[in-house]
Amino acid sequence: MIKPYYAVLRLRLSNGLQYRAAAYAGIGTQFFFGFIFIMVFEAFYAQTSAAAPQMSLSEVVAYCWLKQAFLAFIVLWLRDNELFQLITSGNIAYELCRPSGIYGLWYAKLLAQRLSSALLRCLPILLVSFFLPQPYRLELPPDFAAFLLFVCSLIIGLFLIVAISMLIYISVFITMSPAGSLLMFSVFGEFFAGMIIPVPLMPDWMQRIVYALPFHWTVDFPFRVYTGNISTLDARAGLLFQLLWLAALIFIGKIAMNKALRRVVVQGG
């Protein structure tokens, strides 16, 4: 039952791991951006007059490095042009002939793409950032429980982000223009996820909006669990919410996909 999906996953994974040189070049870029982000936050935190923010500088630093290391797990703009072309060119007809569900198949493909590009990049970035001089060093999580919860929430977050990006691909069935859908989702999604600034640094009214949306469970939640900014008790409850959102998003995705596929018109070729 699960076997074809697993095969797609493995195939894609080894395919993605081929581009090692590109990954190493990418690591350099990640580091540069990481430093820039941290220095900007550092400049803000140099203000002693401000009321104590809900997040300490070392927590923000950890947040930045984790963001850089797991970029492939959390960005929405990572795209699979092959899938877009399938939809817009009409080759989707072949996919429909396959004996396995198209939702699951694409889900596995997207998951593998993210896994392979993150696996190559995250370890070197994490390793180096553990040994950077202060104040740039990535601190260890406060206790082992926090670390375990971080790993769990990161993995569920990954499943969540793939479920969200599946919605982008499904929307292309309707709009037929990948650029527009991708842009709208990624611009707002990443802001609400806490990619630009961590959620606790936003004003209260904005936080209320953010917490009502699923995006922050993919970025903000796992990273703050790591730093201990979210207590282990809250983190456990958060995991439950993550799972609920995941189930809801996959459910919506499957229904939307079936609807879109029923209307799909393959224009010859």
Binding site: T29, I36, M39, Q47, F191
Partner: protein, 258 residues
């Protein structure tokens, strides 16, 4: 030069064929820096100040950078996408034509949708200027215009430099993003907030500091010396080695043959 405008008109007409998609892209180009801007606003709301820089002062910096970057991306996009010309071997066609390579590559692509980012930048610039108490003088206005022009020249030089690398590597390099996107990310804040080494690198090697941070100090009245107003001209100095590398690259270019 007339040739350049002909290229431009042609590509403009071509992009206008897909009007709805074009407008969406313009909107998107406007929104991307808008979220960064919103983040900046929230941060200032919480912290009030950034190492002695007020919100509107940083906004001025932000606006100048984003405007310069969007103008460059609109006009020098050909260099940004240059590696694809080398990979496909299409660069050969440019070489046999009786015109310079630079003007042809420049004319090979225009991204008019970048107007979105430009509009946002211009809006932010006006907003910042209206809220800043600056005693404007002709020299200060000159400085602002020079900053903008110099920013465009530096970004364009970087595009040319990165494009030249693809003569050697064939493939484009992701690491080039450090200079283009990284340069943009970095110069949207005043240079003084960064580590000393980074300040030095981006003032003396890649003269972003001369184009942005130093003349800004003059405009804001933190420095009285009028020489600061003309520092953006240093951007021109950076263009020279980049063009030289480009020429060397063209000379040793070997077609991929496909």
């Amino acid at each position: 030069m007339t040739l350049y405008f002909k290229y431009m008109l042609l590509l403009f007409k071509a992009q206008m064929e897909y009007r709805a998609s074009f407008l969406l892209l313009v909107l998107g180009q406007c929104l991307t820096p808008f979220t960064v801007f919103t983040g900046l606003y929230f941060m200032f709301e919480r912290f009030g100040d950034m190492k002695g820089w007020s919100f509107y002062e940083v906004l001025l910096c932000f606006a100048v950078t984003h405007m310069a970057f969007s103008i460059t991306e609109c006009f020098a996009r050909g260099f940004d996408m240059f590696s694809s010309l080398v990979v496909s071997g299409d660069f050969d066609r440019l070489l046999v034509r009786p015109r310079g390579t630079i003007i042809q590559v420049l004319g090979s692509k225009f991204e008019f949708s970048r107007v979105g980012r430009l509009l946002l930048g211009a809006g932010v610039l006006i907003w910042a200027i209206m809220n800043l108490d600056i005693a404007w003088s002709p020299l200060k206005i000159t400085a602002l215009v020079l900053m903008e022009a110099s920013g465009v020249i530096i970004f364009a030089s970087i595009f040319i430099l990165c494009a030249s690398f693809s003569f050697w590597t064939v493939q484009g390099l992701e690491i080039a993003n450090i200079l283009t996107d990284g340069g943009r990310e970095m110069t949207q804040y005043p240079l003084s907030i960064y580590h000393r080494r980074i300040q030095q690198f981006f003032t003396f090697i890649i003269p972003f500091g001369c184009a942005n941070y130093l003349p800004l100090q003059y405009i804001l009245g933190r420095e009285e010396n009028p020489i600061y107003a003309f520092l953006p001209l240093a951007g021109l100095l950076f263009l020279v080695p980049c063009l030289l590398i480009w020429q060397i690259g063209v000379r040793r270019y070997r077609s991929t043959g496909s």
